[in-house]
């Protein structure tokens, strides 16, 4: 027999997809039904959930009115060398068994993703969006998935057919009851931010710092006695950040999809994420982890803001794990079984009390902390993490007279300035994947951060007095660049650098 002659075999092939981090890899589910003692095995480095698929698939097939073959059935997930996880291969395996036994008479062409219920129902799975994007990149544009995942798959750009049961899937594939592809969910208007800057009285410098953080992506620390509005200020940040662009929305949504946090009706994120993990969070919760590695809060906040309230209460080793993502804009989680890289470009906003009792510098309530205790409290933060915080502002308790109503700017007005500043940054960074001044490289700082004479004198003085390292100067210049962008100025003026040094604490 000639090698390339078509051979009639009982092997069925169904396309599916595995996920390592955000990286999607095609998996072909091959099902062979052969003579022998009744047996059903799944091979190809499956995890427990996939091995258990045998029971779900057998029951689902039987309970959908099909027949499970009383023969030797082997399902192979190719390529067999990489570990696969999750229940998303159930649908592909079941369709493969039905195809191999000719209960389904046509080949299965779409990408199949879904978990089976014992009664033959099809359930949704996590990570549909990145898997569908991976399939699209390889030219597969049709997806068969659970009804609840259909909108998400459609939003990723595929022709997605959602099914509720295995029977519906078979009927659709066989052409007996073809289902229409799911509609792409309409983009909703960006939701109103929870807090408008106009709702907050006073606090001119903290508001200014918030605006700078939103425009340039710089990290911000708000410190002050309890109840002075630190959390309120932080929650106003999403309302003044620019809207998500298409790329950012897809990537951020894909991360949420992997974490299983997608709203089935609105799979594409519309607003920038704002994540506020509690201070008891472990480092796995914060940067991600597990095997296989799942995204943590810093990745879920990608393209948005990560808010750490009560910063010194976080365990120090937990905070230290944030150093790499803050510097690189991504986090690579390496485990014995697999490594995954998740994007993690966040605007960090942290809040803290000035001392353990919270009242240092508070005219309304005396501080009861011993000086050494305050020092220890601050020392919990010192070092590399604080070095990466560009804006530090004190949020004082305001007297009643300061709570005026006139002249407060709305978030909308501030956002206009932020958008204009981002536009200037984009013109400057055109052609790179970076978007904000916080991401300027050292070489770019040299070319783009030109300062006027007053600023030059200040920078010279700072360097001469050795209060500022070269690295500190660069970080201050990035912030000054953002301040100048907000003022629509090409050159960094002396006052811009002064404000940057002031907010940085010139350390």
């Amino acid at each position: 027999m000639a090698v390339d002659a078509p051979v009639r075999t009982s092997v069925a092939r169904v396309a599916s997809c595995a996920l390592w981090g955000l990286e999607a890899a095609p998996v072909i589910v091959e099902v062979d039904v052969a003579n022998g003692l009744p047996h059903f095995n799944v091979v190809g480095l499956p995890d427990t959930a996939i091995s258990e698929a045998r029971e779900r698939v057998r029951a689902a097939i039987r309970n959908s009115g099909f027949e499970f073959p009383l023969r030797r059935v082997v399902a192979n997930l190719a390529p067999a060398e990489r570990k696969k996880e999750g229940s998303g291969f159930d649908l592909a395996i079941a369709l493969g068994v039905l195809r191999a036994t000719d209960q389904l008479t046509v080949d299965v062409t779409p990408l199949c993703l879904g978990e089976l219920a014992l009664d033959g129902g099809v359930r949704g799975v996590r990570g549909v969006m990145p898997r569908v994007r991976g399939a699209l990149a390889r030219g597969v544009d049709e997806v068969l998935c659970a009804q609840e995942n259909a909108a998400e798959a459609a939003a990723a750009g595929a022709r997605a057919v959602g099914v509720r049961t295995l029977r519906e899937a078979v009927a659709h594939l066989a052409g007996e009851a073809v289902r229409a592809p799911a509609a792409i969910p309409p983009p909703a208007p960006p939701p109103r931010a929870a807090v408008d800057l106009a709702d907050i009285s006073g606090h001119e410098t903290p508001k200014r710092a918030l605006e700078i953080a939103a425009a340039g992506g710089h990290s911000l620390l708000l410190a002050g006695p309890p109840g002075t509005g630190k959390t309120l200020l932080a929650r106003a940040l999403p309302g003044i950040m620019p809207p998500l662009d298409a790329d950012e929305a897809v990537v951020a949504s894909a991360i949420h999809s992997v974490a299983g946090l997608v709203d089935p009706a609105r799979p594409l994120l519309e607003a920038r994420p704002f994540r506020a993990p509690h201070h008891t969070a472990s480092h796995l919760a914060l940067v991600g982890g597990g095997s296989p590695p799942r995204p943590g809060e810093v990745s879920l906040a990608h393209a948005g803001a990560l808010f750490l309230d009560e910063l010194p209460e976080f365990a120090r080793h937990v905070l230290d794990t944030l150093r790499e993502p803050l510097e690189e804009g991504s986090i690579t989680l390496s485990r014995a079984a697999a490594a995954a890289t998740y994007p993690a470009r966040v605007t960090l906003v942290a809040a803290m009390n000035p001392c353990p009792c919270g009242h240092a510098g508070d005219p309304a309530a005396p501080c009861t902390c011993l000086p050494d205790a305050i020092e220890r409290y601050h020392a919990r933060l010192s070092g590399p993490l604080m070095d990466r915080i560009d804006l530090r502002v004190h949020v004082p308790r305001l007297a009643y007279e300061d709570l005026r109503d006139e002249g407060r700017e709305t978030s909308r007005a501030v956002r206009e300035r932020v958008l204009a500043a981002r536009e200037r940054m984009r013109a400057r960074l055109g052609g790179t994947r970076r978007r904000t001044n916080a991401e300027l490289t050292v070489a770019e700082v040299r070319t783009h951060c030109r300062i006027d004479d007053a600023g030059d004198a200040l920078a010279r003085e700072a360097m001469r007095s050795r209060r500022l390292s070269a690295r500190g100067v660069h970080r201050a210049l990035r912030v000054a660049r953002t301040i100048a962008d907000l003022a629509a100025s090409d050159r960094i003026r002396g006052e811009d650098l002064a404000l940057a040094l002031l907010l940085r604490g010139a350390a």
């Binding site: 005396p366 011993l370 050494d372 020092e375 604080m386 700072a462 006052e495 002064a498 404000l499 350390a507």
Partner: protein, 281 residues
């Protein structure tokens, strides 16, 4: 480190006024500093910015007049007094409530770097030997030693139940002059000192030369640290503030104020705190 018995000729004679003079007295540093005229500056550990400034200014005035500053090297006012004396180029004696060895091995934070400076120009002294665990009463007992060593005792700030009030009581018993620094009404750290004045137990200290006159130093060179003329530095006299608070106190704002603060920062006249406030250096 040496130990002196009361019978030793170099034993500080002022301590013989005590009912039970420390026996022996452990000394780490210069012995002759204990024979010189001294003022004790003591106060609460939970000091305010006001107390820190006053303690520092009084200690600097003593340093300028050549008077030794005695204190208990606790956190807060005591440490501010020792540091003020050292920064003013004067001598200072720290009377510890635990053994010198224990203290030197356990002290952390802002007090630690002061230890070698005190030993170089003054002395650490203690009446307790090494294996003793510091207790509340050991600190109370050394307060009498502080009072005995000084000709005048100044309580800068003391809240209700502050250990500095025990020093005040010892001072009265020993017949030394007792001063208390009047503080703002409503300030928890000044309740004790204001009460001392109100009850007539202590004289209100209104200017440093009052205290210097008692020890016989009337040197005019002992003017306190001149008040800063820079409005920003003046606003920060009584403790650290955030930018908006500085703006409020200086009645100044905008780019002008920010440039001024930035300049003071890079010149090192201001130092940033971790919480975004600034303090004078």
């Amino acid at each position: 480190m040496i130990a002196l018995a009361p019978s030793d000729p170099s034993y500080p004679s002022a301590l013989r006024d005590l009912e039970r003079p420390p026996d022996p007295l452990w000394i780490d540093g210069l012995i002759d500093v204990l024979a010189r005229p001294a003022v004790a500056i003591v106060g609460t550990r939970r000091m305010t910015g006001y107390g820190e400034r006053v303690a520092r200014e009084l200690a600097m005035a003593c340093a300028a007049a050549g008077i030794v500053v005695v204190s208990g090297f606790a956190q807060g006012i005591d440490t501010a007094a020792h540091r003020g004396a050292l920064d003013g180029g004067g001598q200072t004696v720290a009377v510890l409530g635990e053994s010198i060895t224990t203290f030197r091995t356990t002290v952390r934070g802002r007090r630690r770097p002061l230890v070698p400076r005190i030993v170089a120009s003054g002395a650490l002294i203690s009446e307790f030997a090494a294996p003793l665990t510091p207790r509340y009463w050991t600190f109370a007992q050394r307060n009498a030693t502080i009072a005995a060593l000084a000709r005048a005792v100044v309580v800068v700030e003391a809240g209700e139940g502050s250990g500095a009030l025990i020093t005040a009581e010892d001072t009265r018993r020993l017949g030394r002059t007792l001063f208390a620094v009047p503080g703002p009404l409503g300030s928890a750290a000044s309740i004790g000192t204001n009460a001392l004045i109100a009850n007539g137990f202590a004289r209100a200290l209104l200017a440093p030369d009052q205290m210097l006159r008692v020890v016989g130093a009337t040197d005019a060179a002992c003017a306190p640290e001149s008040a800063p003329t820079d409005p920003v530095l003046a606003a920060l006299r009584d403790g650290p503030l955030g930018v908006d608070e500085i703006a409020q106190r200086c009645r100044m704002g905008g780019a002008e104020l920010r440039s001024k603060i930035a300049l003071l920062l890079v010149r090192g006249q201001l130092a940033p705190l971790a919480d975004g406030r600034f303090r004078r250096t």
